[in-house]
């Protein structure tokens, strides 16, 4: 095994993990605190990417584009919460799934009408569109390093927000025991709106971060949403710490698994069998892990306290 390659794959894994964390943090809070199954979380991710594309186009700056797109997605999240989701809190999960699935269709069609069906590219500014030699002989794309940095900063911000502020206290309390928080006279409505807006902004940020690597296109959210659900199930629903650790685990397993599994199988199986099994198995790895976690610790690896 090539250690330099393994190191690079670990970086790739962390980068994917942090991107997943941005999505999972919001999703797990919305699920844990508001008890709302939000399939449209991926649509907010997509809208973030499209907002960044348009704002970056208008201002001719990637950074300003992202800075403008962030509050735009937050606002969009609040509007969606107030207009569409408020009526769903008392309904069962199946109704919520149906309604938020409807939102996915709505946003996909909206995007098609406004931006057209073809995929769009969000170009990177020159200072990010290079590579840095992180170790001798290993150039690494600067932008992926930037994604790692932003992911870590957001994690730190969320930690401080949740652990050190009054809002954070309410969020934690909400995740542990929703009824009690309401009974203590906290404005649950406002809390829900804040949590949903925050979740939307984080999802949008993930979309903006992913856009220059991937393509800004219709349906980009659905693809990543499944992995995000895997993350929050493994991490424990409602737990930000769980989401962070599980996202890193999933990112690493997915990337490193994809990279070394073919070689591992080659050692154990005949060549022909290995080359068919490897791609199939590596795309299943994360689901295998989820099944294991569900079997052994159904509440997830790091459930919120009191849940």
């Amino acid at each position: 095994m090539n250690w330099l390659l393994l190191f690079e794959q670990i970086l790739n894994g962390i980068q994917l993990g942090l991107l997943l964390f941005l999505l999972a943090a919001g999703l797990t809070l919305i699920f844990g605190i508001m008890d709302l199954v939000n399939l449209a979380h991926g649509s907010l991710y997509m809208m973030g990417a499209y907002f960044a594309y348009s704002f970056a186009g208008w201002t001719d700056s990637f950074v300003i584009g992202v800075l403008l797109a962030l509050p735009a997605t937050l606002l969009l999240g609040i509007v969606v919460e107030v207009v569409a989701l408020r009526t769903l809190y008392d309904r069962n999960h199946l109704d919520q799934v149906l309604a938020t699935f409807g939102l996915i269709l709505f946003f996909n069609e909206l995007v098609r009408i406004i931006w057209g069906p073809a995929g769009l590219d969000l170009p990177l500014p020159d200072f990010l569109n290079t590579s840095v030699e992180i170790l001798p002989g290993i150039p690494y794309p600067t932008y992926r390093l930037a994604v790692i940095a932003v992911g870590l900063l957001v994690a730190l911000f969320l930690y401080l927000l949740v652990a050190r502020t009054r809002i954070g206290m309410l969020i934690r309390a909400g995740a542990s025991n929703r009824e009690m928080v309401g009974a203590l006279g906290v404005d649950i409505k406002l809390l829900y709106t804040i949590v949903f807006g925050l979740g939307a902004a984080l999802a949008g940020l993930a979309g903006m971060m992913a856009a220059p690597i991937l393509t800004v296109e219709v349906g980009m959210g659905e693809r990543i949403l499944i992995d995000t659900f895997v993350v929050i199930v493994i991490g424990g629903i409602g737990s930000i710490r769980g989401a962070f650790l599980a996202a890193l685990i999933i990112g690493l397993i997915d990337t490193v698994g994809r990279s070394i599994l073919p070689d591992l199988l080659n050692l154990m199986l005949p060549q022909a069998a290995a080359s068919t099994a490897a791609p199939a198995l590596s795309s299943m790895l994360t689901y295998v892990l989820m099944a294991l976690v569900l079997a052994i610790r159904p509440a997830g690896l790091f459930p919120p306290r009191g849940a």
Binding site: A118, G119, T215
Partner: protein
């Protein structure tokens, strides 16, 4: 009494012949109109509409009706839409199909059920070989052929080591098998990625750098092509290891690719600047009508309509003469945009394959141009497995 008989006879005559002329020739066209591959379906539809314009929307004296169906990039939806076209719309021809896995899922719902099936793109090995059927025709190619031509090019360039990447589905596996069939150097690495979900290739790109091959061969169709080229450049590999591709650059995504793809080489059965009258007319009229170059998907779709027309014309619009129609199609008796070609025993074309290069044309638009002919009259390797003569 006499008048009554005359009246009855003319009524019968009215009912019999004009009914045939009034009924349009119905063609069901299955393609992808939504998702990120929707642009491909749009290009195919454009080409079909252009072909209909060129033939005045008539075949064998009858009107033509084309019903477009969206497979949503999913085999199960493609099959559903196909069944609907065959059983509810009672179409005379089913055509289209971008994706090999969608065509494979839909195949048995058409062949043997009445309509002819014409693939305008997908060419899975199974249908060229054991599953071949007299009612199936292809106006494209068998999947293995284009990468086989690329393997020859790599040999000619003296490339000693190669890294191969493709998506893990029916066509991707054929493409890998194709290039390995002819490439004589060493394959130092090979990755099949999840399709269509995987869009981030960071893990694979790191492996490519570590393996340090003399060249990389990829097959990433549609929206996946620009994705790969972009990440390849971001990883700093663009100027280090040359990238050879099949079906990854097309006129739909070429503007997005732009300089990322300029100068890269690919193989194909058709190129916009092929010097045949039918092709010149097709490319010029397509550009005039839609303001851009047609893609190879469009070229194949255009030929699909022309092939169907040749059959319907030959029987004068009498679609009950299926054997005559089949025999006529087998002759490939129409002006194809790729130039003259013949059909093999498995009803896949025996045709030329060219090496093409991404260039900027006189107007500064990105397009591709012929570098050399790699294969002349090439037949796919599965024809011998097909029992038809």
């Amino acid at each position: 009494m006499k008048r009554l008989i005359v009246g009855m006879v003319s009524a019968v005559a009215l009912l019999a012949t004009p009914a045939m002329a009034a009924d349009p020739v119905k063609i069901g066209f299955v393609t992808t109109l939504t998702t990120n591959a929707g642009a491909i379906g749009e290009d195919m539809r454009n080409a079909v509409e252009l072909a209909l314009d060129h033939i005045d929307r008539k075949m064998g004296g009858r009107d033509v009706e084309v019903i477009y169906a969206d497979d949503q990039f999913k085999p199960d939806v493609g099959k559903q839409e196909t069944v609907k076209l065959v059983e509810k719309e009672h179409v005379d021809f089913v055509a289209g199909y971008i994706w090999s896995h969608v065509l494979l899922a839909s195949y048995k719902s058409v062949v043997g059920k009445g309509p002819f099936l014409i693939s305008s793109n997908a060419g899975p090995s199974q249908i060229a070989g054991k599953l071949c059927d007299p009612d199936f025709f292809s106006t494209s190619w068998q999947n293995d052929q284009t990468p086989m031509a690329m393997g020859e090019v790599l040999n000619q360039k003296g490339i000693k080591s190669l890294y191969i990447m493709a998506p893990n589905y029916a066509a991707g596996k054929n493409m890998v098998a194709g290039v390995e069939r002819t490439y004589k150097g060493e394959v130092v690495g090979k990755d099949l990625t999840k399709f269509p979900d995987q869009l981030d290739f960071s893990a694979e790109l790191a492996k490519i750098r570590a393996a340090n091959p003399e060249a990389v061969f990829i097959f990433y169709p549609g929206g996946h092509g620009p994705q790969f080229f972009k990440q390849y450049a971001q990883a700093g590999l663009k100027d280090k290891i040359p990238l050879y591709s099949v079906f990854s650059v097309d006129s739909i995504n070429i503007d997005r690719l732009g300089d990322l793809a300029l100068g890269t080489l690919m193989t194909q059965f058709w190129v916009p600047d092929l010097d045949f009258p039918a092709n010149k007319k097709f490319v010029a009229d397509y550009k005039a009508k839609y303001g851009k170059y047609p893609s190879f998907y469009g070229a194949q779709s255009y030929d699909t309509i022309m092939l169907i027309k040749s059959a319907v014309d030959a029987v004068g619009g009498d679609l009950s003469k299926r054997d005559e129609m089949r025999a006529e199609m087998k002759k490939a008796n129409f002006d194809s945009v790729r130039g003259p070609f013949t059909f093999g025993n498995n009803h896949f074309p025996i045709q030329n394959f060219y090496l093409r290069e991404v260039i900027k044309d006189a107007d500064g638009k990105f397009t591709t141009s012929v570098v050399q002919t790699v294969y002349e009259n090439h037949q796919d390797p599965y024809a011998s497995e097909c029992e038809m003569k």
